[in-house]
Amino acid sequence: MTRSIWWVIIPVLVILFVLLGYGLTSDPRHIPSPLIGKPFPQLQGVDLNGQPVNLGLVDDKPTIVNVWASWCAACRQEHEVLLRGARRYTDTVSLVAVNYKDELVNAKRWLRRLGDPYQWSLHDLSGRIGIELGVYGVPETFFINRDGIIVEKISAPLTDEKLAAGVALITP
């Protein structure tokens, strides 16, 4: 009689342990972006030289949008990757940037010293463009395909492999 009750309790415990196991082993810092699969928002701003620029698909090519700041140590780490990538993929993709919450002088000095892989960097001093893009922190990188859809978003410093994988996703 009482034994039949275990047929109810055990499955519930198993489900609970599976859920807990899944929750405890997954990375709480990895948060899937709701923007993936959505069109990149049309955003206007000015670049570091004060020229108006439109964020989104650039030159009708698949576009990479990198969010960076001169105060961000991890951005320096990925900068080499972007310089290499800009040379390697220059024919197939556009590479532009959002310069996030940065002083103009510092941002310009940074690019002068380390090299400028970007076609332009939109100057987002207030961080409003960052919020429009659901940015948590720098660096972040968006991969936009030819239809203007965000295919991938990487919220970590890029590596050559990650960059290549991202480019493969947006180039036919």
Binding site: V12, L16, I31, P34, L35, S126, I131, G134, Y136, G137
Partner: protein, 157 residues
Amino acid sequence: MLRIFKWLGVLALCSSLVTVSASEVNEDPLERTMLDIAQKLRCTVCQNQPVSESNSGLAKDMRDVITDKLKQGQTEAQIMQFFVERYGDYVLLEPPRSGNGVPLWVFPPLVLLLAVLVAIYMMKSRAQTAAPAVQELTDEDRERIRRAREQDRAGDE
């Protein structure tokens, strides 16, 4: 007499303090609404803190965005929607009651209900099992009782 004056003085001082502190409360209703909304949003860079309490740069920016949108006449639902579209359900401190959030709300009461049902079932089945029948006393038992009583009486005397 002097003591009375002293107490009156203290009383006057207290009442003057009360009026001063009361008159200083001057709240901006827009800020109140902004903080109400910010309280329901997670500061996305600090793991588990509402936007209203965080000192991080992003939380401050988000508060400014809320204030701007309120000034534009947007409703709380519209503002929440704006953040959810960009940061996902993660930005909501209280998980949504529809879609992906449903299991979170349904599972705990369900488990509690199950536990109560199991407890009731167990207690009932225990109550139903009859206690073992009491055995009749054998002649040997009666003899032992008689002897014990006799001994007891002998001890009393």
